[in-house]
């Protein structure tokens, strides 16, 4: 196959952006994706089989057959997990990655989120650290992401946000009933509610129409293509540039190294299962935190016997996601108006600044709920089945509000991805092995957040509430990575404690980059998609700037 300038592995939030930035800058690019390219026709509105509710499997991959992972419980016992099971910590495998079917909250992290160690010190047993780049470094790229991907919303009503050099390109969607109920209550509590920034068209934008506000939103492909991911924004531009070829259903086996310790390309299994080689000047790994680490660890060679970038045993460490906690409020009146996307109001007052807590998180009302979601959210004491349960469903499905939020996790180096010594996937590649747990302080923060959500709901008139918390006593081994997985190829200045530099370039191999959530040093108290996109724009710009045609400007 023809040698190209760059191979990008993974067509998700970051990979799509890298492919677009490189190809429109004149580099020849091959973009590889293990999954398929779905369209809005694949929405299917299937309550039991989507990316959020996977009772009957994942809608957008990977399939349960041939793609196992191993997870290790608190007693050290290994278990097989399938992609549709929670312990797999899945993120979608398709063109667009998670951004095809995500809820599309598009948050900027706060300035403190890039300086967690400086702000709070290092809790015992944690690996809390500062990013080598700051909010100010990233700000222009947040702007770029917001305009190129297309973000609606309005966060001007809160002082708890970073400075913006440019407003969001689209106004927020009109508020829903939950916003009208929760908004005044938040203000009475002295909070600053805002319209959640969303990668969703509220007005025609980028050649596509606006959201039609249906019920099948978070977890589904958008039926009218109003939800903005890499699959309907940057990837089509990359392909139209004439410099980018995308190959789907291709599983990368390993990064190929030459004798001088530089990458010369990759080998992969194509859609028919045949092993192919694609030679390139640069390799960019954008396969999401778990699979990117797995690929680096599986790329063993004479000079890199422990895998690429792993000289100091850092690849795969600091696996993190978000610890979601919140509360359910039960109301004496209807709160549900059946208008998507549902999530509408948020406060960022609790992300930082609570004495005794290292951070916090955003709190927002939950995405629109399908009946299958209400089953788990009935008042405490509801009969588990029978007429009493049926009546509770009828009473509460439309009289419930859920306030929930992603607590920023305190990373530990023990929560990590390795490759399993025995279990292999259908291509014969060693699978990811997940072990470790959340730092205990994460649970303390999460509990405080849940009580705050409860207070907000009570102020809004909830007659009854129940807390949504998960305690380490119940599942001590719990890793919470899944869609928000991050941290496994930490960005840093010191090669002994990080994997890539601030340009997302692997310290010891200058033509291999990791550009995705793997590089996140910490993961903010927010949905991470927009930050992944901003980092991808940031890293692509330095890559293009430093690229001299045959090598990198040192």
């Amino acid at each position: 196959m023809k040698r190209v300038n760059a191979v990008v592995i993974g067509a998700g939030a970051a990979g799509g952006i890298v492919a677009k930035e490189l190809s429109t800058s004149g580099l020849s690019v091959v973009l590889l994706e293990r999954g398929k390219w779905y369209t809005s026709n694949d929405c299917r509105k299937d309550d039991l089989r989507n990316q959020r509710t996977t009772l009957l499997g994942n809608a957008f991959g990977p399939p349960d057959e041939g793609n196992p992972r191993v997870w290790v419980d608190g007693k050290g016992v290994s278990h097989i997990a399938l992609p549709s099971e929670g312990d797999y910590q899945n993120n979608a495998a398709c063109v667009g990655g998670g951004t095809l079917s995500y809820g599309a909250q598009a948050w900027r992290y706060l300035p403190q989120d890039f300086r967690m160690r400086s702000t709070y010190g290092v809790p015992a047993g944690s690996s809390l650290e500062d990013w080598p780049i700051s909010y100010d470094d990233l700000e222009p790229f947040y702007v770029k992401a917001e305009h190129e991907i297309g973000i609606s919303g309005d966060d001007s009503a809160t002082p708890f946000r970073g400075p913006r050099s440019r407003d969001l390109p689209m106004p927020p969607l009109p508020v829903n009933k939950e916003f009208e109920i929760l908004g005044p209550a938040a203000k009475r509590l002295g909070l600053h509610p805002i319209n959640i920034p969303m990668a969703r068209n509220s007005i025609p934008y980028n050649g596509r129409g606006p959201c039609m506000r249906c019920r099948w939103c978070c977890g589904f492909a958008c039926e009218v293509d109003a939800k903005n991911g890499s699959q309907n924004t940057v990837i089509p531009i990359a392909l139209a540039s004439g410099n980018c070829e995308m190959r789907t259903e291709c599983m990368v086996k390993e990064i190929l190294m030459d004798d001088r310790g530089r990458a010369r390309g990759i080998s992969y299994f194509d859609a028919d299962g045949h092993l192919q080689e694609q030679l390139s000047d640069i390799v960019i790994v954008s396969a999401c935190a778990i699979e990117s680490a797995r690929l680096l660890l599986n790329s063993k060679s004479r000079l890199f016997p422990a895998g690429i970038g792993n000289r100091y045993d850092q690849v795969g460490r600091n696996l993190q996601g978000h610890h979601y906690t919140g509360a359910v409020g039960y109301f004496g009146f209807e709160t549900y108006d059946d208008i998507g996307p549902g999530a509408s109001i948020a406060v960022t007052d609790y992300n930082h600044g609570t004495p005794g807590l290292c951070g916090g998180g955003m709190l927002a009302n939950e995405f629109i709920r399908l009946p299958i979601h209400t089953l788990d959210r009935l008042p405490t004491g509801t009969p588990r089945w029978g007429l009493g349960h049926k009546h509770a469903m009828r009473n509460y499905h439309k009289r419930t509000i859920v306030v929930i939020g992603p607590t920023q996790q305190i990373p530990t180096e023990h929560a990590r991805v390795t490759v399993d010594p025995s279990v292999k996937d259908k291509w014969g590649l060693p699978v990811a092995r997940l072990q470790g747990n959340c730092h205990p302080h994460t649970f303390e923060i999460g509990d405080v957040q849940a009580r705050r959500a409860q207070t907000w709901l009570k102020e809004a008139g909830a007659v009854d509430t129940s807390l949504m918390t998960s305690r380490p006593e119940v599942r001590p081994e719990v890793i919470e990575a899944s869609q928000h997985q991050a941290g496994t190829c930490r960005m840093g200045n010191d090669p002994r404690s990080s994997v890539v530099n601030r340009d997302c370039q692997i310290h010891e191999v200058d033509n291999v980059f990791v550009i995705d959530s793997s590089v996140n040093v910490t993961n903010g108290g927010f949905n991470p998609a927009l930050t992944i996109m901003a980092v991808a724009f940031f890293a692509s710009q330095s890559l293009v700037r430093n690229w001299k045609g045959t090598g990198f400007r040192s």
């Binding site: 299917r44 509105k45 299937d46 309550d47 039991l48 009772l55 009957l56 499997g57 309005d154 001007s156 009503a157 106004p171 927020p172 009109p174 508020v175 916003f179 009208e180 908004g183 005044p184 509610p193 805002i194 319209n195 509220s202 007005i203 606006p210 959201c211 039609m212 506000r213 249906c214 019920r215 059946d338 208008i339 109001i345 009946p371 299958i372 209400t374 089953l375 588990r384 089945w385 029978g386 007429l387 349960h389 049926k390 009546h391 469903m393 009828r394 499905h397 439309k398």
Partner: protein, 181 residues
């Protein structure tokens, strides 16, 4: 919905009668694994499962689990995504009938609703994974998407007051930027 809808259109009473006949046949030892209208379950098993599902979601002014096609859902999925649970169902349904024989001297499907309630309660208390499976699958079949064979005519969604078919393009757009109350 087509021919896959099978005999779940029968009323609860019809089912009970069928169950009684099947039960009587079982008692005389002449019925066995006879396949009927189901992909996986025998008619006897289907009758027992109907009794259990209809205790989990009984009829009121809206249909019971079986009336809404829950058996259809479970029967379809047990040969597909839920294939690993086949043994649990076979064994669990047999145990339910044994329990019923012990308590009231007849198969579950022939027992009275009050007796069935008692049996399902003791199934739950016996803490077997079987009851939890049936409970989850019943809820999925009743409240999930009709495309999988349950929730006939989206009956549970109508019960919950949701529009089906859904209203499209209900945008309520007002393009004034930001309308927090």
């Amino acid at each position: 919905m087509g021919t896959k809808q099978k005999n779940t259109a029968f009323s609860r009473r019809t089912f009970l009668e069928m169950g009684a006949i099947a039960g009587a046949a079982l008692a005389t030892g002449c019925a066995s694994r006879k396949r009927g209208n189901w992909e996986f379950f025998t008619e006897d098993e289907a009758a027992t499962l109907t009794a259990i599902c209809d205790q989990i979601i009984p009829a009121d002014d809206f249909p019971s689990a079986s009336q809404a096609g829950v058996l259809n859902y479970i029967d379809k999925q047990i040969t597909r995504h839920y294939r690993p649970h086949q043994r649990a169902y076979r064994k669990g349904l047999e145990q339910a009938n044994q329990l019923s024989q012990k308590h009231c001297g007849k198969p579950m499907a022939a027992a009275s609703p009050a007796e069935q309630l008692q049996i399902v309660t003791s199934l739950e208390e016996s803490d077997t994974p079987f009851f939890e499976l049936v409970r989850s699958h019943t809820f999925e079949g009743y409240y999930g998407s009709p495309r999988h064979g349950g929730n006939r005519n989206a009956v549970s969604w109508h019960m919950l007051g949701l529009d089906e078919p859904p209203i499209r393009g209900r945008s309520r757009y007002d393009l004034k930027k930001g309308t927090p109350s």
